[in-house]
């Protein structure tokens, strides 16, 4: 079992179909396979133990994913936003390695004998070394991809995804050759993100053309969507929010006649954004996907019919599903309390997931699965009576005030309902009396004003006094990572 089979099948069935578009570059599935096989021979000959990519989105990413698989060497895309010392530490951990990059990023790396740099353009033009193409290893337990986590609590952890995890995900959630001849997806997530990898694998298996957009910006996204007649797109919530704002500010219609499906995920979607987006793109199928690196991407899906039903319903239980992440995809999901007891519908606790796509494994730390194969996502949430999953933040983000667990999300939802409030994050702050207390960082709409006291009264009236932010600071903007996750640890430091 090897993810290179995905490309073999696409090249076999639709070799002449365009696989990748990036600016002026276009490769068919047959060409993508040919380049991956040439690169694989090169990787094998180099003796590299890992293949790293330090680059924005380009055709080198899909070529490197499959070349690594053909060569049976783990693929390690690196975050190009890291600092030079951080990158050099990761290089140390993966050496001996071959690293695909560009001249600008190469300057960040300290030269070392066991790190072979190859420039992206050269990597894409490797000559045929002759001889038999490499026979990929068939061991399902081989590591296909290694992703370094962001390392918010120390050294970055190396999450590993084995061929069996990724193949299970693809075969279990994507129909082979499901795409029509002219279908295309715009990929805006960076190559080092799990969604960037699953986009390549899913699109290949569906035989769908991938349009890679290295730097997201609403105008560039709209232009790429139009020029390539794109039918599908995946966005993180902040991207969709920027597109919605761009269109609303200009009073423009989207003017994307080919667009059929918009999927989103990677962070919490504000209800106002998705509601507005559904109005702006009335005929489009919206899908919310929830997944983690350790689960080979998507584990729950809120599909187009769910979106329409929620928008049209007068039943509050159906309406609120727009704020859920939908139902389990090709996995099982369970909610447990802090003592490990499995909870029933509507009971909030910790989200656990089980299934063949779930790796739940880090190098050196080993498998995090329990004896029955369940992985603790460290997300909090609950299932409703029909099995829809509602998320309620990270377990680490819970504010424990006098022994009471307070979810920042519920307070944030109330504060966001105030007309003056554009963005908010609630975090724990140290408190002598209660251990922890609620603090809020708030961004106001331009020109809007509201007092600290008015916001405190709002929370007190809607929730209860224990939820009232003890301190509120007003900010110009909140810190986010590139996939739209608010960086709570940065905000917490402000109140420490």
């Amino acid at each position: 079992m090897n993810i290179s089979t995905i490309l073999d099948m696409a090249a076999e069935a639709f070799g002449e179909r365009v696989a990748v578009v990036c600016g002026e570059q276009r490769y068919t599935y047959a060409e993508l396979r040919e380049r991956a096989l040439r690169a694989a021979a090169h990787i094998k000959a180099s003796g590299a133990a890992h293949v790293a990519l330090l680059d924005t989105a380009s055709p080198a990413a899909p070529v490197a994913i499959y070349a690594s698989a053909y060569a049976a060497v783990p693929y390690v895309p690196l975050n190009y936003r890291l600092t030079a010392p951080e990158l050099n530490e990761l290089a140390e951990r993966i050496a001996p390695a071959m690293l695909i990059t560009t001249p600008d990023y190469a300057k960040l790396l300290t030269p070392r004998a066991d790190l072979t740099l190859i420039m992206r353009d050269e990597f894409l033009k490797l000559a045929d070394a002759g001889g038999e193409p490499p026979q990929p290893s068939e061991d399902p337990r081989d590591i296909a991809v290694q992703l370094f986590t962001s390392g918010t609590t120390g050294k970055p952890k190396a999450a590993i995804l084995r061929h069996e995890n990724l193949m299970s995900y693809i075969v279990g959630t994507v129909e082979f050759a499901a795409a029509d001849e002219n279908d295309a997806i715009v990929v805006t997530v960076p190559p080092y993100h799990i969604a960037g990898i699953s986009a390549v694998l899913s699109s290949t298996y569906a035989c769908r053309r991938m349009v890679l957009l290295p730097n997201f910006e609403p105008r560039a996204w709209l232009a790429a969507m139009r020029s390539e007649n794109v039918s599908n797109a995946f966005l993180v919530p902040t991207m969709l929010s920027r597109i919605v704002d761009h269109l609303v500010d200009r009073g423009e219609a989207p003017n994307l006649p080919a667009l059929r499906a918009l999927a989103y995920g990677g962070g919490k979607m504000p209800l106002a954004t998705i509601t507005k987006a559904m109005q702006l793109f009335p005929g489009v199928d919206f899908t919310n996907a929830y997944g983690l690196t350790e689960t080979s991407s998507t584990i729950a899906v809120l599909g187009p019919d769910d979106h329409r039903a929620a928008a049209a319903s007068r039943d509050p239980a159906v309406q609120r599903r727009l704020a859920s992440v939908g139902k389990p995809a090709a996995v099982e999901i369970q909610i447990r309390d802090d003592d490990g007891k499995v909870l029933g519908a509507e009971e909030a606790g910790l989200v656990f997931v089980r299934g063949p796509q779930v790796s739940g494994e880090y190098l050196s730390l080993g498998s995090q699965l329990d004896a029955d194969g369940w992985f603790p996502t460290k997300d909090r949430g609950y299932l409703d009576a029909d099995g829809y999953l509602f998320l309620d933040g990270r377990a680490d983000d819970v504010i424990v005030r006098g022994g009471e667990n307070i979810s920042p999300g519920e307070i944030e939802d109330v504060l966001l309902s105030h007309a003056a409030v554009a963005d908010v994050a609630c975090v724990a702050m140290p408190d002598e009396q209660w251990g922890e207390a609620v603090a809020a960082a708030i961004v106001l709409h331009p020109g809007a004003g509201v007092s600290e006291q008015e916001l405190q009264e709002l929370v007190k009236g809607r929730l209860r006094s224990s939820r009232v932010p003890q301190r509120i600071v007003f900010k110009d903007a909140l810190p986010y990572n590139e996939t739209g996750k608010v960086l709570r640890r940065v905000i917490r430091q402000e109140f420490a």
Partner: protein
């Protein structure tokens, strides 16, 4: 001759173009055939034609399962023969339709 079917193992038909990968299979040995002839290693060379009664064909990308779906093969290359295990033809597994999420 029966053979163990380990997940990830690949086989090809001796009598047509069909190739499969094992997704899952119960432990033990199974008599895996295509077009009536035993399936062979991907690198081996076959000969002959599918049995006319077992020439229903396979389609690339389809998953083939036994009655209780304990055994599942992914067709990685289509051909003319019918897949069977222990003399019983395998059926196409109905895919769970999921909206495209990435």
């Amino acid at each position: 001759m029966a053979t163990a079917l380990k997940p990830g193992a690949r086989f090809k038909s001796a009598v047509c173009e069909t190739q499969v990968m094992v997704v899952k299979a119960p432990a033990g040995e199974h008599d895996l055939r295509c077009g009536g002839a035993e399936m062979i290693a991907p690198t081996a060379t076959g000969a002959g034609e599918p049995d006319a009664a077992l020439a229903g064909g396979t389609l690339i990308g389809k998953r083939y399962v036994n009655a209780d779906e304990s055994l599942e093969l992914l067709c990685t290359k289509g051909g003319k023969g019918t897949l069977s295990v222990g003399g019983t033809p395998l059926e196409v597994k109905q895919a769970k339709q999921l909206p495209s999420s990435d």
